[in-house]
């Protein structure tokens, strides 16, 4: 099936130390937002980077990655540059590190339009000013003259969003775009990103640690653990009926406004990398529902009703996994 905007099948990424991303498959349709949630090192950023062939030199990428009709791993040279410049935009975690410190905001925003789109500098400037206004950057003309160090983190992240919107991509990759910001700018930036994305009908791959944020802003949410996708589901469905014990574990460990708890429940053990996982389910050693089969045999991803869960006991556990701290604390 080739009508998905992003179609990833069996993506594996190997480093010299071992496998980092293991057999990841997902798809994103035009205008759809997919949230990818996971702990540090679970392979979410690597997966996103594989979509624009931005994996580090020592890594080997295998599997099929198709984005907007392009076979991404096969792109080279000019074709790759055009694909990166026109089809996909990427928003990074730390805008300060990702914008050249010695060049003005104006250079950062206008230059790609002039060089890549062959727009006239004054036309490009007008367009950039309009977009800056749309993403809530006031006094755009002055901002264009300023340098990254003169802007706050939240403002800079909006500039980054503006640069992505200016390129008119079909897909935006957002790699923890709000992690480096304080809570209030986080909310602003997410609001702008969501609003602009909906208005323009852009697809979004949103990477975050924050399960709730992903569920609130994305149509579907995927949960990664140890380089594998353990669950992909409709965001509301995932919130109400998590299909995988790991998803449930994440949700249960959230603090609650209503319940006073001295200790939050935790998922015991530590997260592992894909290459450290045994032959069975990578989550089995930490899973309260693990059985012997889980240790031995790797669970296949099974799809039912638009939900994909990779768990041997998915069918038995369906609907019974807790979603809040209250549910586990009642008898604790």
């Amino acid at each position: 099936m080739n009508d998905h905007l992003v179609d990833v099948k069996g993506l594996c990424i190997d480093a010299p130390v071992g496998r980092l991303v293991d057999d990841v498959s997902f798809h994103i349709d035009s205008g759809e937002a997919l949230g990818v949630v996971g702990e540090s090192g679970s392979g979410k950023s690597l997966t996103a980077r594989a979509l624009i062939a931005l994996t580090a030199d020592g890594l080997r990428v295998s599997g099929s990655v198709r984005v907007a009709g392009h076979d991404v791993p096969g792109l080279r040279g000019r074709a790759l540059r055009q694909f990166r410049g026109r089809s996909v935009g990427m928003i990074f975690q730390d805008p300060r590190a990702h914008i050249n410190p010695v060049r003005s905001i104006g250079d950062f925003l206008v230059e790609p339009l002039v060089l890549e789109r062959r727009q006239r500098p004054d036309a490009a400037r007008r367009r950039v000013l309009a977009i800056l206004d749309e993403v809530g950057v006031s006094d755009g003309a002055r901002r264009l003259r300023q340098y990254p160090h003169e802007l706050s983190g939240g403002l800079l992240q909006r500039v980054m969003i503006a640069s992505v919107l200016a390129a008119e991509p079909a897909l935006i990759l957002a790699d923890e775009p709000t992690t480096a910001l304080d809570v209030t700018s986080q909310a602003d930036v997410m609001a702008i990103l969501t609003e602009q994305r909906r208005e323009r009908g852009l697809a979004l791959l949103f990477i975050t640690h924050d399960l709730e944020l992903a569920a609130a802003t994305c149509d579907r949410t995927a949960v990664m653990y140890a380089g594998r996708l353990v669950e992909t589901a409709d965001s509301t469905g995932l919130q109400e009926r998590p299909g995988h014990p790991y998803t449930s574990g994440l949700m249960v460990s959230r603090p609650s406004i209503d319940l006073r708890a001295t200790r939050l429940p935790v998922v015991p053990g530590r997260p592992v990398a894909a290459f450290e996982a045994g032959p069975g389910c990578a989550f089995a050693p930490r899973c309260p529902h693990a059985q012997t089969a889980c240790e031995r045999e790797r669970p296949e991803a099974r799809e039912s009703g638009g939900t994909m869960v990779a768990c041997h006991r998915a069918a038995e556990l369906a609907g019974s996994l807790p979603t809040t701290i209250e549910e586990v604390s009642v008898h604790g």
């Binding site: 931005l54 055009q82 935009g89 590190a97 230059e111 602003d188």
Partner: protein, 299 residues
């Protein structure tokens, strides 16, 4: 839209006020940055540049006209620094000689900095085999002392400034390239280069528009400090008689010709030329130290 734009604080006033600053304020700020010794050194260099620029107007006598009647006089009222064995005014020769003394090293630094930076960016950006080939070629060049290079090119091109400049430019290139390459490697690994890639920039564009501006302060500091070395090297080659040829002159050549007259009891020419070379190099060194500090603060 209900978006609150965060305050950006006092920095906002920066560029707007900066644009209308008068020349004096700029000079004052530069002075503060350079410190006392730096200001003195910079002033000395400025005077030297002015003297070199207006040399024919300033020089009291024709620096190449022999006047055998007044040959070998000590310092006096007419000839402030005396005359040489052919009766040429030493002060005028120092003033006019400043031109070649200044231009030679500047040419060497301009050429070697351009070539070294280009090689370094190529090596750092392309990496892999390209980097290896460039680095090994640079290693080979390192093995040959600068003066030896100049001697070879002078042997090919004949004595004179062009041969010296070509030779020293080649000799200085690896020093520039090695320093810039390591800085460029560090810079290339920074996230903003990835971000530029993601927007589809080409390699050339990344090198020129992103790497180069970030490396510029360091390259400048490096170039100025190498300028001091180039002055000494060119003076040394002139001293050996392989650089600028008489009747034209530079300070290195004047030290050489001054030594002959010094042995006959007239040390002014050699002393004055040597002191000027030393002062020039010292001034360059002080300014380059300040620039390096500045470049360091920018990091």
């Amino acid at each position: 839209m209900s978006v609150i734009s965060p305050p950006t604080g006092r920095l906002e006033a920066g560029p707007a006020t900066r644009r209308r600053t008068p020349v004096l304020a700029v000079a004052a700020r530069t002075g503060r940055r350079l410190g006392a010794s730096g200001t003195v050194a910079a002033a000395l260099l400025a005077v030297l540049v002015l003297v070199a620029a207006f040399a024919p107007v300033i020089a009291p006598f024709d620096p190449t006209a022999p006047d055998l009647a007044n040959a070998l006089t000590g310092p006096g009222a007419t000839h402030w620094l005396g005359t040489d064995a052919l009766g040429r005014d030493t002060l005028s020769r120092l003033i006019v000689g400043s031109r070649i003394t200044l231009v030679g090293p500047i040419l060497v630094i301009a050429v070697s900095t351009a070539a070294g930076t280009a090689l370094a960016l190529l090596a750092a950006y392309a990496g892999g085999r390209v980097d290896m080939v460039v680095s090994r070629v640079l290693d080979v060049l390192f093995a040959v002392p600068g003066i030896v290079f100049a001697l070879v090119t002078v042997a090919i091109a004949g004595p004179g400034l062009p041969g010296v400049v070509i030779g020293l430019s080649i000799a200085y290139t690896p020093y520039v390239a090695r320093v810039v390459r390591s800085a460029a490697l560090r810079e290339r690994a920074l996230p903003y280069i990835d971000a530029a890639w993601v927007t589809g920039r080409s390699g050339l564009s990344i090198c020129l528009r992103h790497l180069l501006p970030n490396l510029a302060p360091m390259i400048m500091a490096q170039a100025v400090s190498a300028l001091g070395l180039a002055v000494v090297d060119i003076a040394a080659i002139s001293f050996l008689g392989l650089g600028v040829q008489p009747p034209a002159t530079d300070w290195g050549l004047m030290v050489k010709s001054g030594i002959d007259t010094a042995l006959r009891g007239y040390p002014t020419e050699a002393l004055a030329a040597a002191v000027l070379i030393a002062a020039f190099v010292a001034a360059i060194t002080v300014v380059s130290d300040r620039l390096t500090e500045q470049a360091g603060e920018l990091r």
